[in-house]
């Protein structure tokens, strides 16, 4: 019996779980095994002493309350992963235990508490660590998601097209603007490479752009950024576009080229304006060279062969020279006006003047020299406060245009009327070929002329632009109504 009791004590003292028996209301440590001693960092000398004096930090902790309850009410308590603060190596530490408080009975009466505990601090900390990691990841994911949303928002609304290609040049992403510029839908993207033959890429001069000259190819082969390279793109349907491309390579962490990102802008209108200017300059130089050529040749001929030429030829050459000179000065005048307009430098000298007077000054000689009948009608006596010379220029431009562009119109009618109380409207009406609707909008633009290529008409094409500027400076409006085969009416209004 004694042997078996000693054996049992041995079992307790060597058990891998911590065991403690306290007795009485002072919770005297009466039995404790080595595992529990190790947890408490005590030795066997504590046996016979009150627990809360030995380990004062326990006081007030939930574990102490449960111990007391077990003793006072004789109820067991089981806790798992329960936090207990213990002073270890001189420092308060949060430790975790699975433990079990059981009342210790003698003759049916509670005289102590058996405490069986397993420390699980490492596991709890590991779990907690894990949970922290997860929580951090959740936050990170949230941040990433927000930042991706923000980026997506930028990509979707930006005015530049963004396209991403993989290492094979296959497009893997195109933002909405890129889709719009390239006229692509999302499903098209999957089967389009940046040099897809259906989208003919062009050099600026309109010739096909060879694969190796494409900015994306240059970037992919050199591995270097390419900035602001302009190319033309002819989609399968619709108008030719000009795009400016920036291309940058994408490398993985080992420095291998894995693809590229291209951003591009539609610069079609910029390109068309500069082409318009080029066209204009070439037209202008052509227009100026013609009168210079005939003037120079006439004068040379007169100088060298004056006496040999018949009277008739001499007269012809002289009047021809004067006409060329007049043409030249008109061209130069137009050019200067246009450039002054552009800089807002055309000064007005306003005075009260009747439309009648303006017409007489600017246009009566046109009426006399024209084959067509020029009819001036309506409320001619109306007075405007305007720069008579400039308004005369507008009127003579519109009349000359009618003569030039509607040569078969027997009559050209200039009509003056009062509208809306304080406005005067002047119309120049021809019954010529009319103007197709798609051209009407551009008529008053600078550098626009209805037919550049055919060179059907001479002149710089500045007349309507200058006229529009003059009318605008006078707070008036200018416009045109036209129907193909029916004729055109150019009009402008002035405050009276």
């Amino acid at each position: 019996m004694i042997d078996s009791e000693r054996g049992f004590e041995n079992l307790i003292s060597q058990a891998p779980v911590a065991i403690l028996l306290t007795k009485g209301e002072d919770y005297i440590v009466s039995k404790i095994n080595s595992t529990m001693l190790a947890i408490l960092q005590k030795d066997e000398t504590i046996i016979g002493k009150p627990l809360f004096e030995l380990i004062p930090e326990l006081k007030g902790q939930p574990v102490a309350k449960m111990l007391i309850e077990t003793y006072e009410y004789g109820v067991s308590h089981v806790e798992t992963s329960h936090p207990v603060t213990l002073v270890r190596d001189g420092e308060a530490q949060e430790c975790f235990f699975n433990y079990n408080f059981t009342p210790y009975l003698e003759n049916g009466k509670v005289i102590g508490v058996i405490d069986v505990a397993v420390e699980v601090t490492d596991q709890v900390l590991a779990i907690r660590d894990h949970e922290n990691t997860i929580a951090e990841k959740v936050v990170l994911e949230e941040t990433l998601r927000n930042s991706e949303k923000r980026l997506q928002g930028i990509l979707e609304t930006m005015a530049e097209g963004v396209g991403i290609v993989d290492s094979m040049g296959q497009m893997v992403y195109a933002n909405p603007m890129a889709q719009q510029i390239l006229g692509l839908t999302l499903s098209d993207i999957e089967d389009r490479t940046y040099n897809d033959p259906r989208w003919q890429n062009l050099r600026l001069d309109g010739t096909p752009l060879p694969h190796e000259e494409h900015p994306m190819t240059i970037m992919m082969t050199t591995g270097k950024n390419v900035f602001d390279r302009e190319i033309g793109v002819q989609p399968p349907e619709g108008d030719r576009q000009y795009i400016s491309i920036n291309a940058a390579p994408i490398f993985d962490e080992n420095g291998n080229l894995t693809g590229g990102i291209g951003t591009f802008m539609n610069v079609t209108s910029r390109r068309l304006i500069s082409q318009g200017k080029d066209d204009f300059i070439s037209i202008a130089s052509h227009e100026i060279k013609n009168p210079v050529t005939s003037l120079k040749a006439s004068l040379q001929l007169l100088e060298r062969a004056h006496s040999r030429l018949p009277e008739e030829s001499r007269t012809k050459l002289i009047s021809q020279s004067l006409r060329s000179l007049e043409n030249l000065s008109r061209l130069i005048h137009d050019l200067l006006d246009a450039s002054r307009m552009e800089q807002g430098q055309l000064r007005m000298q306003k005075s009260a003047v009747s439309i009648d007077e303006i017409f007489d000054d600017c246009c009566s000689h046109i009426a006399r020299s024209s084959r067509q009948r020029l009819i001036f009608e309506g409320e001619k006596h109306l007075i405007v406060n305007a720069d008579g010379q400039q308004i005369g220029q507008v009127l003579s431009n519109l009349i000359s245009n009618a003569i030039k562009y509607a040569p078969d119109s027997a009559e050209i009618i200039v009509n003056v009327s009062q509208i809306k109380g304080d406005q005067i409207k002047i119309c120049v009406k021809d019954s010529g070929p009319g103007i197709p609707p798609e051209k009407l909008n551009h008529l008053f633009d600078r550098y626009y002329r209805t037919n550049y290529e055919g060179q059907k008409y001479t002149g710089l094409g500045l007349g309507l632009y200058i006229s529009a500027e003059i009318v605008k400076n006078h707070d008036g409006e200018i416009g045109v109504e036209s129907e193909v085969d029916k004729g055109s009416t150019f009009w402008f209004t002035l405050p009276s």
């Binding site: 050529t293 001929l301 021809q320």
Partner: protein
């Protein structure tokens, strides 16, 4: 090359009276839309005893009397209804014109623009010097 007016040509009967002179005078077909340049060239070239047939547009040129063969075509490039270069190419393919030289004058184009389209015997850029122009005309016709 002697040119005799066709008997069925009723449009230009006066050619009968000119025919004797035409045997010795060279004929230049001038296509130029600028009235001033056309007039000066007419006066200049006829004062040098060339016969000048002048036209202001391709349409006008196509209506020419085809019985009269040219010794030289002198074309402007930018014309109201097309390009003098294209017309040059077209005319060179006609049997009668195979050996007739072309001169192109332009304010605009350069000889390089004509490569492969029309190989003119000479190219004059505007504005030109009349003495220079006459020399070139003379030498081109002489080479024929």
């Amino acid at each position: 090359m002697l040119i005799f007016p066709q008997e069925n040509d009723k449009t230009k009967p006066y050619q009968f009276s000119l025919s004797r002179r035409e045997r010795v005078m060279r004929k230049i077909f001038l296509l130029e839309d600028d009235q001033g340049i056309r007039e000066v060239l007419e006066i200049l070239l006829s004062s040098e005893d060339y016969i000048v047939h002048s036209f202001s547009s391709i349409k006008d040129f196509r209506k020419r009397d085809r019985s009269v063969l040219a010794d030289l075509y002198l074309f402007d490039v930018m014309l109201p209804d097309g390009s003098g270069i294209d017309l040059c190419k077209e005319i060179k393919e006609e049997e009668n014109n195979r050996n007739v030289p072309f001169m192109i004058m332009s304010a605009h184009a350069s000889l390089g623009d004509l490569k492969g389209i029309c190989e003119p015997a000479d190219f004059i850029s505007k504005p030109f010097d009349i003495i220079h122009l006459l020399e070139r005309v003379k030498s081109v016709i002489a080479q024929q």
